[in-house]
Assembly symmetry: C2
């Protein structure tokens, strides 16, 4: 998605070979017009999947997911991060390990909002090693619903999440695919290295 | 806002005289079409305030805030809840006490995304005793920006938040104002008690 790649080049900050900061338009400050374009694009890419529900994870997944839900005319459920598994009655839960923060969060969705007839589109802001997506898949599976696809705003293709999910048989659509953050530069998959305009 | 009141009556669950659960359309499962109507309504009510930025708090404020930002064509910043004030460099922070959960959270916004020229609309899903709104006001004030108004999806008017904020001189616009949850019934301000259709 050209508009998103341009925005990443313009406003993204490469903090290391692993970390791209996009908190000026995606995960702290949010650009609603860009979110709308992102929602439109996901809706187009997954138009033929018969999606009945979108599942994402708080907090940064919510804005792109709700815009996608608007275009697809389906409800959005956001999984909550919880400290523990106490009070888990009626909840579908999964553990998600974050390698960057080195913490394991429990995530949960009320069983009221997923059922076995649902065809679910999972949306998230970033895909790195795929642990968050796996957690959401695990939750959807517990409900008996089907994961019809995974929509990612920014994929760090140099980490193994996308390949792992595709090997498991899932359709992954990422709107920006970053092949490298080396030397402080964002390089998109299939493109030559370009300098990051900061 | 009639549409919202109808939805609360249809899908809200009164758990006690103090607690209304709306997680089927607002704060766990989200109805994107309703969020769009909410955004349109806030945008209309605050059209003359010269708003340059919307500030909300994760996670349930994000959906209505982003839709409002879409209609007003301004960026949205969501405050993050943090466990501690370590690593607070470059952050505007405030403490928010939750009486229902009996915990105090630190909330924070990067100082990069608020400046003294901003006219800020604060958006949140619920207003009860007003502690979250006060925390957001405190953060906006630290940046030198002006709070131009406070937009609330559901106000529990039988708690003292709205009155307190208005006494401090803030314009508060709540799309649904609940005067009572007694006897398992939702009563809106200015209306007679009506049974909750569950």
């Amino acid at each position: 998605m050209k508009l998103l790649e341009q925005r990443i080049k313009k406003d993204g900050k490469v903090l290391s070979n692993q970390v791209l900061k996009v908190d000026s338009f995606l995960n702290h400050q949010v650009d609603p017009q860009l979110m709308m374009e992102i929602g439109k694009e996901f809706s187009k890419r997954f138009a033929d999947e018969g999606i009945t529900k979108i599942v994402t994870i708080e907090s940064s997944g919510i804005a792109p997911a709700v815009m996608t839900g608007l275009y697809m005319n389906v409800p959005v459920v956001f999984a909550r991060k919880r400290k523990s598994l106490t009070l888990s009655e009626g909840l579908l839960t999964a553990s998600v390990h974050s390698f960057t923060k080195n913490v394991t969060n429990e995530i949960s969705v009320s069983q009221n909002y997923l059922n076995k007839e649902d065809k679910v589109l999972i949306i998230d802001d970033f895909l790195a090693n795929g642990q968050a997506a796996l957690g959401l898949i695990h939750i959807v599976q517990q409900s008996g619903a089907q994961v019809a696809g995974i929509g990612i705003v920014i994929e760090k293709s140099f980490q193994d999440g996308a390949e792992m999910l595709e090997k498991l048989g899932y359709r992954v659509e990422s709107l920006a695919r970053i092949s490298s953050l080396e030397n402080g530069k964002v390089t998109f998959k299939g493109q030559k290295a370009e300098e990051l305009v900061s």
